[in-house]
Amino acid sequence: MARTARPSWGWAEPLDDITGQVAIVGVGESDHTRASGRTTTEIAAQAVERALRDARIDPADVDGLMWHPSFPDQLDAGAFARHFGVTPKWTSTEGGGMTWAATAASTAAAAIRAGHASVVVNAFAVAWATQRRSMVGGPGQQHAQDLHKRQLEVPFGWFPQPVYYASIARRHMHDHGTSEDDLGSIAVAFRRHANLHPTAVMRDRSLSIEDYRASAPVATPFRNEDCSLISDGGAAFVITSQERARDLPHPLVAVAGVGLGTSATGVHLAEQPDLTSTPQVFSAPAAFGMAGITAADIDVIEVYDPFTIVALMQLEDIGCCEKGEGGELARNGGLRYDGGRVPCNTHGGLLSHAYVLGVAHVVELVRQLRGTAAAQVDGARVGVYAGYTGPQASTLVLVAP
């Protein structure tokens, strides 16, 4: 959908055009569980083993590794070497989940282009369900370490993320007429997909809109069902050149575009001039320009969904519908894998599949484009992952032949 004026509170980061260069050739997920006692590193290694098996690539051939150091105990180069007996010669700490699950393709493409690596693994895992019991780790603690939040938000109880995003949802309802049922329709749509997904944490728990309405408030307008799971799990994917990918067993899933949008106002949501928009307004046009597509071309989309409202805002900001019409899209079944106008979070997302911060979204997207997903979208050829951290959002466009 055409946007005449781009807002001024952020920008798209300049990224190299990588169309035609790389593909995602292997995907894997760890077991996704509630508190399991496993370590983060073990979980990540299991996901990587499965991704390499999926790609039919021997661990000895892995010469590039990406992770993100702001999360503890990731599968870094040392842990990879201990587990697989191979030391990757090229490494990057700009990998992992969230926005990096998209931009990893750009970073890896540059390394592959320069000859630093030929097979790059990106992995991410968390053991937050295990850690939560002792209130160490977890998203809440990460946020409480920020000085401004600790001094200017936490003392008033405006903390942690469910409270921020409930406040954003309230404002979205005020500005755009979004209703609690609209938010509930997102939770219900994603849960229905999770019920079809063999490894989703919520596979066996159905959710109707009546169940949603009957659920107790956590932070109004949110109920538990508006908030992501906290689970133990991880996922990984393997990137290589498109040339090499053609010799591998799966149909080619090509990286066609990548975007990264940044909010000038940083991590404190109270400061963002447009409280009900995401930096996806900057990221998506850049990625779509690189890929030569428009939002209307999207067959399936996996959006980072820590809360129902973030999924809704990203869908709007990407252009899947007009701003303010995300609620209507969800309410009218538009997100369903079978017949929805914008099939979304076809594995269940962070809300109902697993809380692995977006890497599993990319795994699901690749399966959709191979035609092997559990809740398969008929004829899916153009897929998008929308990553998000708050101050940044990213967009990954994948295309099947």
Binding site: Q145, E153, V154, P155, F156, G157, R170, P217, T220, F222
Partner: protein
């Protein structure tokens, strides 16, 4: 990941060089915010210098009238320290006399069922106390304006 959480967390620290002025003024029942001495912008949240023009800023008293920009009624104690407070209303206010910024706050003396967007509110200083935490501190919260 080495931030030291004091035993009084989540009470704020009025001696923090960057943000403590907000709390030291509050102890005198004054709502004060950082204001740029060069361009007059309200520098919220405070950084070393004004984000707009890099000028120096100073804690500046501001009128306590405003409106509710957004709110949520919190029913779950996300921190053990909030256990005695739930349910409570928290959110963002915009101030009549400090254009362009939003302040996180708690809403007090308010009927949780009647709280509304854009509701006129005014500052009120209340002792902030937390379950299991020693001590208290005056905090600028907001109540409905008649």
């Amino acid at each position: 990941m080495t931030t030291h959480f004091s035993s009084t967390f989540p009470l704020p620290d009025p001696s923090d060089p960057l943000t403590g002025g907000f709390w030291s003024h509050a102890q005198q029942r004054v709502l004060a915010l950082p204001r740029c001495q060069a361009c007059g912008a309200w520098c919220w949240y405070p950084r070393a210098t004004c984000v707009a023009c890099s000028g120096p800023w100073r804690w500046t008293p501001v009128g306590g009238h405003g409106r509710i920009f957004t709110f949520t009624i919190v029913h779950k104690a996300f921190l053990p320290a909030f256990a005695d407070d739930i349910p409570f209303a928290t959110g963002l206010v915009v101030l009549d006399d400090a254009e362009g910024i939003r302040l996180a706050t708690r809403f007090s003396n308010i009927d949780l069922a009647a709280i509304e967007m854009d509701m006129p509110v005014t500052v009120r200083f209340e002792e902030l106390r937390f379950a299991g935490v020693d001590g208290s501190m005056l905090a600028p919260v907001f109540e409905p304006r008649p």
